[in-house]
Amino acid sequence: MKKFLIYTVKIIVITALIAVILDALYTLAFMQSRNRGKVETVVNSKAKKFDVIILGSSRANNHFVAQMFEDKGLKTFNYGMSGGHLFEASLMLKLMIERKYTIKNVILEADLNLSNEHQAEGIAALFLPYIHNSETIRKHFENEEDYNELYYVPFYRYIKYDGKIGFREAFLTAVHKKTGILDNLGYRGLEKHKNGNMKNNIVNLNPLPHNKYYEEIKNICKANNINFISVMTPMCENVKGMNYFDKVKKAYPEIYNYENVVTEDKYFSSCGHMSDAGSKVFTARILKDFFGKE
């Protein structure tokens, strides 16, 4: 039995050692990443200058045509992340500031995402490879439920989010396999789908009165002399009358309501996401209203 216990201890030590080595290898791979996603592009970058930075969820990623800003002479990048919440948008901005980005304007898509303050696990996971290398990321996750496991247990974060930062992603990152996420200056235009889902029940959705991460973004902009523009972006005809956007306006009077700038379903790929054509109409209006560019 003594032999077996020693043998078991050996296995435990080997397992821990393997976890530490794999953790180091994966982290090293992600630290070299430049061309796969928006998070690593910011984390692994140095100071940059932008006229406009776009933040938010897929409703930012699919709605703000960054090239149209560039065409008007505004250096722009769309950092909207599909599936992301304000938790990730706030962290993204913090990282930019940490890397001494010079930003004149931040456009934040703030509407449906005001209804929660929790992280979007799949997206937040993309920051985790850098948790030991960035104090900003560590602090941002500090109050999360599983922070201790994520921070102290070697390789735990890569196991927990293996679909996002597991072997496949680490391998493709290590071999510098490019994705299309950074194409079109971060904007991802959607096609009009014949069978696109044009239903989205937001009747019972309520914006949180003082969304922690919305306030964070607002305060960061204020502290860094960045012009902060927050907008609600359009949704399909089906949600008209569900007054969610009115509730947002009531709680956050400074957020501009663009719900009705694009209304017809022919401009939508799904209820919450405009098609490329709709996004162009919407972006043109934003350029006109906030930058005086027609």
Partner: protein, 477 residues
């Protein structure tokens, strides 16, 4: 509590410690501890069904004794049939009642009689098919005087409820397990080490092979109408490895865990995908179930004795019943039927026991033929697996039809945001490792076992699929 869960990783060392350091005085204390641990293990799923398990155990224990004590044949028969009917009755109610009720109602509707079935709102107790079969084999063996009844209730309970085999087998025989629980177990370092190897290899099969294949197989099967021929073929292959990795992985872990407690369980898988024909496949796949049906259904029905029609009838009966054992769905019945059809030519040509040795390959034409037979057998099983995996028979038929009619064999980006071919290198490597170790129980033991163990652990940590967690498939049966 799954074998690949954190809860089990805590449960197992505690039971191990108590078993060898606290309750190691004699076999009674060892058995008592294992019973308590097993009942706790089972109650982690649903404590309410613990009563069913205890009742089923008591029924077979009691009827077993009554059969043995029975002075007249009439009395023996009475207790025998009581046990059979109650056991099958429970199985029927929990597993098959709703299926039969809705199928019968559909049949009536088809012939114009309007009927709506009265369905029961019951969930299937975990492991019912397994522990019922334990009990049945025990009672049948006593009735036919192959074994003596067990008079020690704790020992008998452990035979039925032993936690490594409780929820998904292997389906043990009283002749194999009961003699082991009747004696005090002494710790054996070599056996325990083998147990660790088997657990680790089982985890490789489950979290690396099965769960990763599941991500791709699900993406393909769930969207089979919108993917191309190559994806559909790969989907069937991925599912074949998913179910193999899942179930044989479970069995490996069960056998490995049991070795830690000094108890040897029946081997359930013997590299089935290296079979040269379907008969060999069924001697290597879910061995404990196949042999159960052979001994308690096929042989009592007459087996291969009698005329040709008798042989054919018996073959179809055991394959269809075996399919139906897996679940209350016509897809399983068809899966069993297809396997019977595969088996038939071998039976008729009396060549179903041609391949009973381990496959050996050399550089000659005969080896090419053997290799082709292995590939052909695998492809045939893949076709049958489509019926096993599909939700309905129509889905399975359309799935197979689309493979032929679509005709597009290019790479494809699937709904899970992965390319359809991505898993092939991993599967090829897995097959290679298994092929090179096909004479052993698992590939870790032997020379440089510590290095191989470390590699296997690294593979589990690095390549396992954890976020898209999958339960063991056979738990639902």
């Amino acid at each position: 509590m799954f074998f690949n869960s954190l809860a089990f990783a805590i449960f197992l060392p505690i039971v191990f410690f108590l078993y060898w350091f606290v309750f190691n005085k004699n076999k009674s204390t060892q058995n008592a501890l294992l019973i308590v641990a097993s009942y706790y293990f089972y109650s982690c799923w649903d404590w309410r069904f613990l009563f069913l398990l205890v009742f089923s155990t008591f029924l077979d224990y009691y009827t077993g004794i009554q059969i043995e004590k029975g002075k007249s044949e009439k009395s023996r028969k009475f207790w025998f049939w009581l046990s059979i009917l109650v056991n099958l009755g429970f199985l029927g109610i929990f597993k098959y009642y709703n299926f039969f009720a809705s199928s019968f109602s559909e049949l009536l509707n088809t012939i114009g009689v309007k009927a709506s079935p009265i369905l029961l709102e019951v969930i299937l107790p975990v492991g019912i098919s397994f522990y019922t079969f334990h009990g049945l084999s025990y009672v049948i063996d006593i009735y036919y005087k192959r074994i003596k009844a067990e008079y020690n209730f704790v020992d008998y309970s452990l035979f039925v409820s032993y936690f490594p085999l409780l929820v998904a087998g292997p389906i043990e025989r009283a002749t194999h397990l009961l003699p082991q629980v009747k004696v005090k177990r002494e710790f054996n370092f070599q056996t325990a080490k083998e147990g660790i190897y088997q657990i680790v290899w089982g985890l490789v099969k489950k979290v690396v092979i099965a769960d990763t294949c599941a991500v791709y197989a699900n993406a393909i099967f769930d969207h089979y109408t919108s993917v191309n021929s190559l994806s559909l073929i790969l989907g069937a292959v991925y599912f074949a490895f998913q179910i193999y990795g899942d179930f044989s992985g479970y069995s490996d872990i069960a056998l490995g865990v049991s070795k830690l407690f000094g108890l040897d369980l029946l081997r359930n898988f013997n590299y089935p995908y290296f079979s040269r024909d379907i008969a060999e496949f069924w001697r290597r796949w879910h061995i404990s179930l196949s042999s159960w049906f052979r001994d308690y259904l096929y042989i009592p029905l007459g087996g291969s004795k009698g005329g040709i029609w008798m042989k054919i009838r018996n073959t179809f009966i055991i394959f269809i019943v075996s399919g139906f054992w897996h679940g209350a769905n016509w897809t399983y019945v068809v899966w069993g039927f297809i396997n019977a059809v595969y088996f038939l030519p071998l039976l008729l040509s009396d060549s179903n026991r041609n391949n009973i040795d381990t496959v050996q390959l050399k550089f000659n034409f005969d080896s090419v033929r053997v290799l082709m037979n292995i590939v052909l057998t695998f492809l045939l099983t893949c076709v049958a697996w489509v019926f096993f995996r599909a939700k309905t028979i129509t889905d399975a038929v359309l799935y197979l039809k689309t493979i032929v009619t679509n005709g597009n064999f290019s790479s494809q980006y699937l709904d899970n945001e992965r390319y359809n071919y991505e898993l092939l290198p991993m599967i090829a490597l897995f097959v290679l490792v298994e092929w090179n170790n096909r004479t052993k129980v698992e590939p870790i033991s032997g020379r440089r076992s510590m290095l191989k163990l470390a590699i296997a652990i690294a593979v589990i940590i690095a390549l396992g699929t954890y976020s898209d967690y999958k339960e063991f498939i056979y738990f639902q049966f």
